[in-house]
C-alpha cells in the first residue's frame, strides 16, 4: 500500500470534506499498520479513562473499515473485479458502519470531518461513489498524484472541458462519447437516475436514497449495456456517435494506466460549479445535474 504514503496533492474532483475523510482514513490505517508503537488519538472525544479494550476494539474496527474501503477502491483494473469478493467486502463495510452507527461512533467520525451532509449519507458510500474515478496500479503514488500525467491528458482535459460547455446546451452525446472507459460508469449512474426520472418524474433524490444509489453504482459497473435488448433508440443513437477509433487497444491501455484526470465526476463538478450554487452534498448536486442531462437525452 505504498501508494498511499504520499499525501495526496490534489484529489481532482473530490469535495474537500470527502478528500479529508479518505485521506484521514488512509493515513490512520497506515499508521495502524506500520507504526506499531505509536499511539494515535483518533477520537479526541474518547475519554482517556475509558476501557482500553473498547478503544482497541474501536481502532481495530476502524482499521478494518479503512482496509475494506481501500480494497473496494482497488477493484478497478483491466480485468473485471470478482463480484463475490466485492459483495463480501461491501457487506463487511455495511456491518461495520451499522455497528458504528449503533454505538454512536459514526457520528464522531462525521463530526470530526466537519461534514454537513445528511447524517445517513454515509461517508463510506461516498467513497464507493468515487471509487471508479480512481484508477490505480501497484506501487508509486499514482493514485492521487495527477501531476505526472498532465502531459498525456492535458489536451483531452481541455477538449472535455470545452465539450462540457457545449454539452450543456447541445445535449450530452459528446459527454458520454469522449470519456474513455469511465463513460460506462457515468452512463450507469445516469441509468440509475433515469429510473428515478421515469418513476418520480424528475423529482429530487431523497437523501436516504443517496447511500443506496452509490452502492448500486459500484455494482452497476458489473452491468453490461449490451445485455439490455431493445434499448432506447435515443441511447443507441448516442452510442453511434462514439468514436470507434478510440477503442484502439494501445490507447485504451494507456488511458487506463494513467490516472484519468477527467472522469465523469470531474466534468459534473465543473458543470456544477459553472452552474451556480455549490451544494454541500455534492452527490446530490451530481444527481440533479444528471437528472437534467437525462432529460436532454430522453428528449422530454
Amino acid at each position: 500500500m505504498t501508494l498511499l504514503c504520499q499525501a495526496p496533492a490534489a484529489l481532482v474532483g473530490w469535495p474537500p470534506w470527502l478528500e479529508a475523510s479518505v485521506q484521514h482514513s488512509s493515513q490512520f490505517w497506515m499508521a495502524n499498520m506500520y507504526s506499531k508503537g505509536t499511539k494515535r488519538k483518533f477520537y479526541d472525544s474518547v475519554d482517556a479513562a475509558t476501557d482500553n479494550k473498547a478503544a482497541l476494539y474501536s481502532r481495530q474496527r476502524q482499521s478494518l473499515l479503512d482496509m475494506s474501503l481501500i480494497k473496494l477502491q482497488l477493484c478497478h483494473m483491466l480485468v473485471e473485479p470478482n463480484m463475490c469478493r466485492s459483495v463480501l467486502i461491501a457487506n463487511t463495510v455495511r456491518h461495520i458502519q451499522e455497528e458504528m452507527t449503533h454505538d454512536g461512533s459514526w457520528q464522531l467520525v462525521t463530526e470530526a470531518f466537519g461534514s454537513s451532509g445528511p447524517s445517513d449519507h454515509l461517508v463510506a458510500t461516498e467513497v464507493l461513489c468515487r471509487s471508479s474515478a480512481l484508477e490505480q496500479q501497484g506501487g508509486g503514488p499514482k493514485l492521487y498524484s495527477v501531476m505526472g500525467y498532465d502531459g498525456c491528458r492535458e489536451e483531452e482535459v481541455v477538449t472535455d472541458e470545452a465539450l462540457c460547455s457545449v454539452t450543456f446546451s447541445g445535449g450530452a452525446p459528446s459527454l458520454l462519447g469522449t470519456i474513455d472507459h469511465c463513460w460506462d460508469r457515468a452512463e450507469l449512474r445516469m441509468a440509475a437516475v433515469e429510473d428515478r426520472v421515469i418513476k418520480d418524474s424528475g423529482s429530487e433524490v431523497e437523501s436516504g436514497e443517496g447511500a443506496k444509489t452509490v452502492m448500486g453504482q459500484v455494482f452497476g459497473t458489473f452491468e453490461i449495456k449490451n445485455g439490455a435488448p431493445g434499448s432506447d433508440p435515443a441511447l443507441e443513437e448516442l452510442f453511434s456517435a462514439v468514436d470507434a477509433s478510440y477503442y484502439d487497444l494501445d490507447t485504451m491501455l494507456t488511458s487506463i494506466q494513467s490516472t484519468p484526470k477527467m472522469g465523469p465526476y470531474n466534468l459534473l463538478d465543473s458543470m456544477a460549479s459553472s452552474h451556480g450554487p455549490t451544494s454541500n452534498s455534492s452527490c446530490r448536486t451530481d444527481l440533479s445535474e444528471l437528472d437534467h442531462i437525462m432529460e436532454i437525452i430522453v428528449g422530454s
Binding site: 453504482q217 452491468e223 477503442y247
Partner: protein, 429 residues
C-alpha cells in the same frame, strides 16, 4: 496409505481438474485457456496390481483471451470448469468454460488411415486418370495414434456475469451454467438459446448482497439441482415446479454460532463448492474453514462437519488483508462416498473418512512425492511446543494453496493440483 505415483509439470496455473466417468481420462484446465487430458495406461502384465500411469493424451487450446470493447475490459481465457459427458460412442466429449463462453469439445482417436487409392498418390497428389490401368480396393492401415480435439458447439452470449459452474444433467441432453447472479439451462444441441432458470439479480443493484457461488445437477434426478450462495445457504430447486426456479424447494442453512461471531463471519460462511454424493442422498459444501455434509432430507443443519484448518480462525484478519480469505477451495467425494477430500494451504490437502471418523493431512510437494514413496501424514502445530515434523501455523506458506482436487470414480486414485503442478496419487503400489 497413499503413494506417490506420477506427477506432471504444467507451465500455467491449473484452474480445474476432473476425471471422466470411467476414470480413464483426467482433464485439467489452466489459466492460459489450455486443456490437457491425461490417459491412464493399461495395466502392465508384469505388475497386475499396479494401475497404469497417467500420461498426456491430448492438449488443446480451448479458450482465447478476448477483449470486450464496450466495457473496455478483458475476458480472461482461464478455464473455470471442465465437465465430462458420459461416453456414448468411441469419442469423448467434455464441456469447458471460461468466464463467459462454454464450449463442447470432441476428443477422438485416429489410429488407422486409408491407403491404396486409385486416383491419388500416397502423398495426396492426384494421378492422371489415363495412367490408371488396374483397380484396387483401398484398405485401412494402422498408423501412429493421433488424438484430435475439435470444438463441436460454442455456447456464448448468455452470461452477463462470470460463469462459476457448469453441470451436465443425468438426462445427458441438458446442462446448466451458473454465473454470479443467474443460472441458465442449455440443450447440448442448441447453442443460440438457453433458458434462465434462476435469477437473483435485484431490481436495484444497490440492494445486491448475495451472489451464486456454485451449482450442480442431482446425479440421478434430472429435475433437481442445487445452488450455493455467498451467504452460506444452499437452495435445492425442482424444475418441474415452475419455469423460473427463484422459489426454492428446500433451503439448507446452518444457524450461526453466536460465540464465533465476528466481522468475518459472513465471508467465511460463503460456500465455495457444492457436490452431490454419488448416491444422491447427500451433498457436501465447502466454506472457508470447514466441509459440511448435508442430508437432502434435513435442511436445518448439516449431518457432519469437518474442520479443515480451524487454526486459521484466529488469523482471519491477516487472511482478509492478504485476500486469502476469498480463496475458493473445492471438495470431492470418493467413489463410494465414504471419504471426502479438500485442499488447504502449504500444499496440504485433507481427507476425512466418514465411517471411521478419521482424518489425515497430506502434502503435495516434490520432496514428499518421490515415485513409489508413501505419503507421510502431516500435522500443524497450533500452539505451545512444536513437535518434530510438525509445522507451526506461522510457517505455513499461504501462496501454496490446493484449490482443486479430484477423486477417481471407482479406484483410490486422486489428482491434486498445486499452483503449477499436478500430482497423482494412488493407494496401491
Amino acid at each position: 496409505a497413499f503413494h506417490s505415483f506420477s506427477k506432471s509439470h504444467l507451465a500455467d496455473i491449473i484452474s480445474t481438474v476432473e476425471f471422466n466417468h470411467s476414470g480413464e481420462l483426467l482433464a485439467t484446465g489452466d489459466k492460459g485457456g489450455r486443456v490437457v487430458i491425461f490417459q491412464q495406461e493399461l495395466e502392465s502384465k508384469n505388475q497386475p496390481q499396479c494401475r497404469g500411469e497417467y500420461n498426456v493424451y491430448s492438449t488443446f487450446q480451448s479458450h482465447e483471451p478476448e477483449f470486450d470493447y464496450l466495457k473496455s475490459l478483458e475476458i480472461e481465457e482461464k478455464i473455470n470448469k471442465i465437465r465430462w459427458l458420459p461416453q456414448k460412442n468411441a469419442a469423448q466429449f467434455l464441456l469447458s468454460t471460461n468466464d463467459k463462453t462454454i464450449k463442447l469439445w470432441k476428443i477422438s482417436e485416429r489410429d488407422k488411415r486409408p491407403e491404396g487409392y486409385n486416383l491419388k498418390e500416397e502423398d495426396g497428389r492426384y494421378r492422371d486418370p489415363t495412367t490408371v490401368t488396374t483397380l484396387r480396393v483401398p484398405v485401412f492401415q494402422p498408423m501412429d495414434l493421433m488424438v484430435e480435439a475439435s470444438p463441436r458447439r460454442v455456447f456464448a452470449n448468455a452470461h452477463t456475469y462470470h460463469i462459476n459452474s457448469i453441470s451436465v444433467n443425468s438426462d445427458c441432453e441438458t446442462y446448466l451454467s451458473a454465473d454470479d447472479l443467474r443460472i441458465n439451462l442449455w440443450n447440448l444441441e442448441i447453442t443460440d438459446r438457453s433458458f434462465n432458470i434462476v435469477d437473483i439479480k435485484p431490481v436495484n443493484m444497490e440492494e445486491l448482497t448475495e451472489v451464486i457461488t456454485a451449482a450442480e445437477f442431482h446425479p440421478n434426478q434430472c429435475n433437481t439441482f442445487v445452488y450455493s450462495s455467498s451467504k452460506g445457504t444452499i437452495r435445492l430447486c425442482d424444475m418441474r415446479a415452475s419455469a423460473l426456479c427463484d422459489q426454492h424447494s428446500k433451503l439448507f442453512e446452518e444457524p450461526e454460532d453466536p460465540s464465533n461471531r465476528s466481522f468475518f463471519s459472513e465471508i467465511i460462511s460463503s460456500i465455495s463448492d457444492v457436490k452431490f454424493s454419488h448416491s444422491g442422498r447427500y451433498m457436501m459444501t465447502r466454506d472457508y474453514l470447514s466441509v459440511k455434509i448435508w442430508d437432502l432430507n434435513m435442511e436445518s443443519r448439516p449431518v457432519e462437519t469437518y474442520q479443515v484448518h480451524e487454526y486459521l480462525r484466529s488469523k482471519l484478519c491477516s487472511l482478509y488483508e492478504n485476500d486469502c480469505i476469498f480463496d475458493k477451495f473445492e471438495c470431492c467425494w470418493n467413489g463410494n462416498d465414504s471419504v471426502v477430500m479438500t485442499g488447504s494451504y502449504n500444499n496440504f490437502f485433507r481427507m476425512f473418512d466418514r465411517g471411521y471418523r478419521q482424518d489425515v493431512t497430506l502434502e503435495a510437494s516434490r520432496e514428499s512425492s518421490k515415485p513409489r514413496s508413501v505419503l507421510k501424514p502431516r500435522k500443524v502445530c497450533t500452539g505451545g511446543k512444536r513437535k518434530k515434523d510438525e509445522i507451526s501455523v506461522d510457517s505455513l506458506d499461504f501462496n501454496k494453496k490446493i484449490l482443486h482436487t479430484a477423486w477417481h470414480p471407482q479406484d483410490n486414485i486422486i489428482a491434486v493440483a498445486t499452483t503449477n503442478n499436478l500430482y497423482i496419487f494412488q493407494d496401491k503400489l
